[in-house]
Amino acid sequence: MIRLLSALAAGLVFGLGIAVSGMGNPAKVLNFFDPFGTWDPSLAFVMGGALVTTLIGYRAIFGRWSAPLFDTRFHLPAVNTIDARLVGGAALFGVGWGISGFCPGGAIPALGFAPWPTTLFLVAMCGGILLARWLQALPRRRIA
C-alpha cells in the first residue's frame, strides 16, 4: 500500500512538472526543434532542470543508501549493450516525436488538460507498442 501511495505522489509531481514546463504542449515541443523557424528554446530549460535535479538526487541516494525506503533493492536496468535495435528504436521514436509533437511522458499528463487530441495520440502509441511486441515475437513463433 505504501508503495502505491509513494508512486502516486511521484506521479502527481511528475504530471504537474510536465504541465507547468510545456513538455505536454506539442506546439512548444515542435518549436524547440525548429531553430530555423519559430524557435522556442524553453525545452532546453525543462531537460536541463530535470537532468540536474535527478543527477544530484540519484547521487545522494546511491551514495548513502543500499536500498530504497519502501523496497528491498533498487531496480536498475541491467542491459548496457548499444546495438542497432537501441539506435534504430531511438531514431524511430524521434521521427514520431517530430511528426506529432508528443512523447510518452508529455502525452500522459496532457490527457488531464487536453483530453481529445491526446487520446488519439496515446491510443495510436499503445497500438505501436503492441505492434512492436508482436513483431518481436515473430521469429520465436516461427522456430516453435
Binding site: 508512486a7 517530430g98 506529432s100 511522458g105 505501436g128
Partner: protein
C-alpha cells in the same frame, strides 16, 4: 509562435526531476514512461499496480491544478493523421529503443548510462531532422 518561458520551463523541469528522485528514493524505480505504460498494457504484471498509481497521479495533477485556477497552454498544430501516424511510430520506436525522453533522457543520463546517452542523442537528432524536413523542406 509559442512564448519563450524559461522560468516555467525550469521549474517544471525541476519538478520532473524531483518526481524521478522520489520514485527512486521510495520504491527504487526508474521513472520511465515507456515502462510505466505497461501498467495499462500488462495489467497482470506484479508491477502493474504501482505503475497505474503513478499514471493516475500524472493525469490527476494537472486537473487538480486547474481546479485551483491554473491554466496550461496547449496547441497541437498538426493534423489528426499526423497524431495517429506519429503515435504508432513513437510506440514502435520506444519499444525497440527501450525508453523515451523520461527513461533515457532524464533517468538514464542521470545514471551516466552510455546506452541512454546514445539513445538520447539519436532521438534528439532525428526529431530535429523530422521537424526541419516537415516544416522547411516539404512545408517550406
Amino acid at each position: 509562435m509559442t512564448e519563450f518561458t524559461p522560468w516555467a520551463a525550469l521549474f517544471g523541469g525541476i519538478l520532473i526531476g524531483l518526481a524521478a528522485v522520489m520514485l527512486m528514493a521510495f520504491n527504487g524505480r526508474i521513472a520511465g514512461m515507456t515502462a510505466m505504460l505497461d501498467g495499462v498494457l500488462e495489467p497482470k504484471s506484479p508491477d502493474a499496480p504501482w505503475r497505474l498509481a503513478f499514471l493516475t497521479g500524472a493525469i490527476l495533477a494537472p486537473l487538480a491544478a486547474m481546479g485551483f485556477g491554473a491554466e496550461f497552454a496547449f496547441d497541437a498544430p498538426v493534423t489528426g493523421a499526423a497524431l495517429a501516424l506519429g503515435g504508432v511510430i513513437v510506440g514502435v520506436g520506444v519499444s525497440y529503443g527501450s525508453g523515451c525522453t523520461s527513461g533515457h533522457g532524464v533517468c538514464g543520463l542521470a545514471r551516466l548510462s552510455p546506452r541512454s546517452a546514445v539513445a538520447t542523442a539519436t532521438f534528439m537528432a532525428t526529431t530535429f531532422a523530422t521537424v526541419t524536413v516537415l516544416r522547411h523542406v516539404i512545408g517550406g
